[in-house]
Symmetry: D2
Subunit: 293 residues, 4 copies
């Protein structure tokens, strides 16, 4: 049993805190909107009057508040948690906070001997309730090991990505890939509807192949190792995008992310990579970022 | 045993034709570059001198040539296949051809009683060899049923999407979704590298969650049924994109498709959908396409 | 006085043909929709029954039809112009046709000794009526010189850009720059409205500075000579785009082309060019195109 | 003669402050890097030890520092200007600051009776030296009138856009339009080079027409009044973008902003506006922003 604190009891934080409580730990909570703490108090949590008051009671303090400014306010604002934390305690930020602010918070807490983990999650409200969240963790190996059993009470797929901030970088990467993929899928299904084709059948056709759902796994691996043996040649992918853009124009349907990807494929072929697998697209992005191959 | 023909013996067509031959069918082939037919001839295929000559011998004629113009030339050019085809035969185009040209070809062949299937594939050269291709089929139900046993010799996941052209629409949708997803994954991994974070660990973090690899399955379904119960609220996704774009700027890394997706999320929230699941992004695209909800 | 022909009497072609007639030339016309020729006939033009019939009568044949396929049909289809043209005549295509098809048409006509100019225009219907069109011309110097007096009857700003196809390349460049600029202006005015600021005042503020309306002139020149002495430093422009994207997010307004430009500025600074004028953006595009500096 | 203060003596601020001094006003300056003040002191400015010290001496305090955080620090940080300002004084922020932070600064100063103008500029270092800057001003009419003579010493085109923050909104709009236009021009010139056409001639062709350089003026006006009488029909513009995208693909050149604009034109035509002037593109953006027509 450990003494835990939780600040930030919204739609995500509440079920996560309940899971910690359900695992037999003592839990102190602070909520700016007191009604939000109610389900926790009924389940046995101890109310505290301020971040400072929570901090005084705990080994590990979890945060799940809404943005950088709120993390800063809870940690270093009036009646701050930082003022109450013991030197060997840990702060674990499970919200989505910017990597830059994260590194600053970790450094300030380190000055007073408090350890830090950034541990943003994916999996949504359903995952928080079912304790099946993915948790991406930044911070020292030792601190990660210490808190891991608590993460295992809240989630299922837990990866220690690197030093402080690395968890938030992974979350940002997640949002980059997810938003682009959502947009691509939305464009595909809308294109089908506009062409008068059953979008459900199109989804089945794409799904069944399994190729699509393994892009991060298979093509992502190629991107990491720069092994671009085809696979599907960039030159042919580029040719197909010609069909896509021309049909989109004739059918009056906007496919902005596909149009953009088409331009990046033009750049890939311009670089002489037409016979490589189209996952070599990552080299175009790397050059734009000023990274060496 | 059926009498089959195959025209277009490139990196994809050759292994597909070999699989048909291996299933015990008689196969006539025509290749503009005669060397390409060699492996087929050694395996028992019959050479033919022209598309016309192939067509005269077959029940089903498969095409896998490089673009619209070549399909047109094979079917209707000099020594054309169309002139040789019997009235109850079928042409199956397994290359990637534009839906618009496809519908035109199907209509022209129908005038002489020849049936049509467009049946583009995904799965790459490896899938062609292993007979694990996904095949997306457009054409009549009856013709699909007739050719299905032959598709099963070449592929594993075979979906009859709709009428002539619908297979090519599905393929275009596949390329829209795949290209956007590839670009998103490439941006995510490049962002990680530029931030000095282990991109392999980031990939693991995203993969393990399984959420990412199920976007087409889970979010795609929400998009089809317009059931946008969160899930992950658009408003929160939009907030996270603010972090992504600001960190990308500070780290000097270009994330064009994420930037675009961020703008579409702005539009989604502007439409009053901030509390819906972010897969409601499809409604922005639908409005741009002039489709009713 | 010359014997001229004109095929393609739509909203643009009709006033252009009237201006040629008004300059005292003999003009034969062919219109697929005969009603369209009426104003020309009333003004003294001679009707012809086919492209072939027009071609037989003229020194210079002007085309202004709707797309590549129609140019091809008029020139080389049934009762074609090509069959009627004399060896020392000239075809001048004033519509917007693809550079690739243009080069093909020019080459085919050259085989029979007929000269070619591609001469697409900008300026819209008003410019066609007022004879103030801009005309971008591709073809040989000699042919350009021969037809120039006729161009001067229809337009005001006439540039001989290069060989056959170069006029159409210039027109494509025009459409690239115009569409991107229109989108940028539309985003700017929409951003102002969404922020509750008088968009008319904003337009005045941007206009008066004259800097904006001289981007092609001033920054375009820097792009051509690669003289990137600031001016306005890329690093500062990038910083400002951070404000733009964050405010757009907070105000729920989509600025897709500005978001894209922001990513390209990230790439420019990543390449070490932060202290150069932001017109150095062209170097990012040149690298994407595989062009040497 | 007025008592003026200037804080922020970088590449832009220094010549602006020299112009104020040259007009005969008393000028106190504070520079964190004392060397930067040297040219001002030699020209007769009075050095001050802190923002507070400057503020105590002045009627109008000009700021030109690098970002929101620095404006906040100068105004409200240690030895702050706000603590030294008299109740009837004015703060004029001539740097580029976010509209949101601007409104907050203005409100805080108003509590102590200090007036505010946000007055960002365009025109670059050359414009600052030549006193030909464009100045976009937000704040009350009375304060604007009071400071106008000082603006006239630094710039040439001065527009009072609206209340506090409106000047910064106009500046953001400027950066939206300028960045998109720069990108479009860069794409156009790169497209020309990749097609082997003289980019200088292309620039001349586009320039001379004057249509291009008047897009903000002419099309911007149409966007404001929603008078979309063509002009150039969206349907035709969309058709031309088909040529652009196909030629870009064949020539392996990336035109990302043109590709995006093409998609927005698809949306415009999908909305039934194909026969309107293509400046109706603004309606697509307005719908995305949730604005009524």
């Amino acid at each position: 049993m450990m003494n835990l604190g939780f600040i930030g009891l919204g739609a995500m934080g509440r079920p996560m805190a309940l899971n910690l409580l359900g695992a037999g730990h003592a839990l102190s909570v602070f909520a700016r909107h007191p009604g939000r703490a109610q389900p926790l108090l009924e389940a046995g949590a101890t109310p505290a009057a301020s971040p400072f008051a929570v901090a005084q009671m705990v080994d590990v303090l979890f945060l799940n508040v809404s943005d950088d400014a709120e993390v800063e306010s809870v940690l270093f604002g009036p009646q701050s948690a930082a003022a109450g934390l013991r030197g060997d305690s840990v702060v674990v930020d499970m919200g989505t906070t910017s990597p830059t602010a994260t590194r600053r918070f970790a450094a300030r807490l380190a000055e007073q001997g408090v350890a830090w983990l950034d541990a943003p999650v994916s999996g949504g409200e359903a995952g928080a309730k079912a304790a099946t969240l993915s948790i991406m963790v930044g911070g020292s190996e030792a601190t990660f090991t210490r808190v891991l059993p608590l993460f295992q009470v809240m989630g299922k797929h837990i990866v220690h990505v690197g030093d402080s901030g690395a968890g938030q970088v992974a979350k940002a990467c997640n949002q980059i890939a997810v938003s682009a993929t959502l947009l691509g899928v939305a464009e595909a299904l809308t294109f089908a509807r506009k062409q008068g084709v059953n979008a459900d059948k199109v989804r089945s056709a794409l799904l069944g192949g399994s190729a699509y759902s393994r892009i991060l796994e298979v093509h992502g691996q190629r991107m990491l190792t720069h092994d671009f043996t085809p696979g599907f040649r960039a030159r042919l992918h580029q040719k197909d995008m010609g069909i896509v853009l021309e049909e989109a124009r004739q059918a009056n349907v906007a496919v902005p992310s596909a149009a953009l990807a088409g331009q990046m494929l033009n750049a890939l072929v311009a670089a002489g990579a037409g016979e490589l697998d189209s996952s070599a697209l990552v080299t175009v992005l790397e050059r734009l970022a000023g990274l060496e191959a």
